[in-house]
């Protein structure tokens, strides 16, 4: 297999580097979790260089975005970061609503906030659990997945799907939530800290876990900014940025929560930031669920972007016409001939959509700024000089989701 490292193409240098050997990591490897490939150049067991080779899961999501309308495309966003699909749904529709200038109802904002934070918890659980699993700590993974199962059940209750939720709509949500949802979330809030403490007790002072993660893959604050890192990866390096605080969208301005930051910037810091963020998210969920405002979840039907309620469609002529106006391919809703970037703080970092609208109900261009893509580009900087066994530790701490990476 022909591979190349960034440095050393000259003849003399080639001879000097003869003792180096190449290891192909992935695309099918249990520790990559999904299909991504890294070509490692090794000096014994030490990684000299790593060249990520991506695109195995490229499915042309951005091209699809130019052919599906603003409501249909939400189905595709599920498939981006499938660890927390709700966060992608919300990111997409927040960007679309920014473009259309729609102000959501308070109830919708709260429900979206709750679900975004539950999605964050589920994403962080998987990341922490899988990172620990790759380092040999099986039990923490099981605790994490137990909790994820409860979250899946909540998502299923809300929208009927555990995994591919597609829950948001332009100007609102697919369905309103009911009392059972509130009860389930309260139950989750009550029991989660104990499970969280279990994981903490298993890992935080675990000698092997600390040896494998502390001082590994150190990302300085300057590099984190220069390389475009966001989310927990940046916050573990001391970048105090969180869009929930800096550009409060949805209902985040109403809640009391902290942005978790650390200075070390190593794998252990990224783990701790994610663990602490879960508890902050839980605080937000708790405040939101206890103050859930009443009222409609969708914006007024007069804005001509939301579908009317189903009973109205079946029983009234206005409802039927309304449904027709929104659904028919030659009607749809009008958009400004403009372009707009809207971003949210997804569990992985800043997830933004740059939407170019041409007046029709289909985006002219739907660019996604995927945090995994940016973070995977950082990987070679983090791994150089470490042992080959640290590859999985660094990879696990970055939480690369190949579906989002390749789109």
């Amino acid at each position: 297999m022909v591979t190349e490292t960034r440095a050393g193409t000259g003849q003399a240098e080639q001879a000097e580097r003869e003792y180096l050997w190449t290891l192909n990591f992935g695309p099918q490897h249990p520790a990559t979790h999904t299909t991504l490939r890294i070509v490692l150049t090794l000096d014994g067991e030490r990684v000299v260089d790593a060249v990520p080779d991506i695109g195995y899961l490229h499915s042309g999501f951005e091209k699809l975005g130019e052919h599906l309308d603003y409501n249909q495309y939400v189905v595709v966003t599920d498939r981006m970061n499938y660890i927390s699909p709700l966060a992608n749904n919300i990111a997409w529709h927040c960007a679309v609503e920014k473009l259309l200038g729609i102000e959501l109802t308070p109830r919708c904002k709260y429900i979206r906030t709750i679900l975004a934070e539950l999605a964050r918890i589920s994403d962080h659980l998987l990341c922490v659990g899988a990172a620990a699993l790759d380092l040999g700590a099986m039990t923490a993974f099981l605790y994490a997945f137990n909790q994820r199962e409860l979250l899946y059940e909540i998502f299923e209750l809300v929208c009927g799907a555990r995994f591919t939720t597609s829950y948001t709509r332009v100007g609102g949500l697919m369905y309103d939530v009911d009392e059972r949802f509130i009860a389930r979330v309260r139950e989750f809030i009550k029991q989660f800290p104990a499970a969280h403490a279990n994981i903490t007790r298993l890992l935080n002072r675990n000698r092997i876990f600390i040896d494998r993660t502390k001082g590994i893959g150190v990302l300085s604050r300057e590099d984190a900014i220069n390389l475009g890192c966001t989310g927990p990866v940046a916050r573990a390096s001391g970048v105090t940025r969180d869009l929930r605080k800096d550009e409060p969208y949805l209902a985040y301005a109403d809640f009391d929560f902290k942005v978790v930051c650390m200075k070390e910037g190593d794998c252990y810091a990224r783990y701790l930031v994610r663990m602490a963020e879960m508890l902050e998210s839980l605080k937000i969920v708790e405040q939101a669920i206890e103050n859930l405002p009443p009222g409609p979840v969708n914006v007024d039907v007069g804005t001509r972007v939301v579908l009317p309620e189903k009973p109205k469609v079946y029983t009234t002529i206005e409802g039927l016409i309304q449904q027709f106006e929104v659904i028919m391919s030659n009607r749809g809703f009008e958009t400004p001939v403009e372009e707009c970037y809207g971003a949210i703080e997804s569990p992985n970092g800043e997830l933004g959509f740059y939407i170019v609208a041409d007046g029709s109900d289909v985006a002219y261009r739907a660019r996604c700024r995927p945090p995994s893509f940016i973070h995977f580009a950082v990987f070679p900087y983090l791994i150089r000089g470490h042992m080959v066994s640290d590859v999985v530790a660094v990879l696990g701490s970055l939480n690369i989701i190949a579906a989002e990476l390749d789109r």
Partner: protein
């Protein structure tokens, strides 16, 4: 949607982002440096864009990074305006910048036309540009002069088209069928 939009404009005026003054000063500084006509400004919602000619784009970006503190490159993307209503130019490249300490966002946009689809790389300013520029090259065929490793990133090396261009069909031009197949015996 007439009424809703009017109301929305009033709301938008009410809650301007705190960094807007800083961005306005930045645009004034850009105009002082590069001339009034070189810097075109446009706004939509809270997005502030400056449109600059391709020949000056590197200097503008370097100025923004070094003199105005835009230390964070959020995104680089491109748009093909082939079928866009009232479009004069074919392509646009958009750099999305941010300042980490005050959260100011600014979009720098430049228009490109065939056959000269080249803009300078900003890899020396922000290392984040590496993969983002490769992706734009991969999808649109826009070259970034001076990029250390400008290769396709998502698509295979032997792919012959630029799929996010508007004249490329959704279902492709049959590239898939023409790929060399490796069977188990050959590999």
């Amino acid at each position: 949607m007439g009424e809703a939009q009017v109301q929305d404009k009033a709301e938008a005026a009410a809650e301007q982002p705190a960094w807007l003054d800083f961005v306005e000063q930045t645009i004034a500084a850009l105009r002082a440096r590069f001339g009034q006509e070189a810097i075109e400004e446009s706004r939509f919602r809270d997005n502030v864009r400056v449109i600059v000619p391709a020949t000056k784009v590197y200097e503008v970006l370097a100025f923004l990074k070094n003199e105005r503190g835009f230390d964070f490159l959020v995104d680089i993307t491109a748009v093909d305006y082939l079928h866009y209503p009232n479009a004069r130019d074919r392509f646009a490249v958009i750099w999305s910048l941010m300042r980490t300490d005050n959260g100011a966002r600014l979009f720098v946009k430049t228009f490109l036309n065939e056959p000269d689809l080249t803009v300078p790389t900003v890899f020396d300013l922000w290392k984040a540009a590496d993969w983002l520029e490769r992706e734009v090259y991969d999808m649109f065929g826009i070259r970034f002069a001076g990029h250390p490793n400008l290769k396709r990133i998502l698509l295979p090396e032997e792919f012959s088209a630029y799929p996010l261009r508007k004249d490329y069909p959704l279902r492709g031009r049959g590239e898939r069928h023409n790929f060399r197949r490796l069977t188990r015996e050959q590999s």
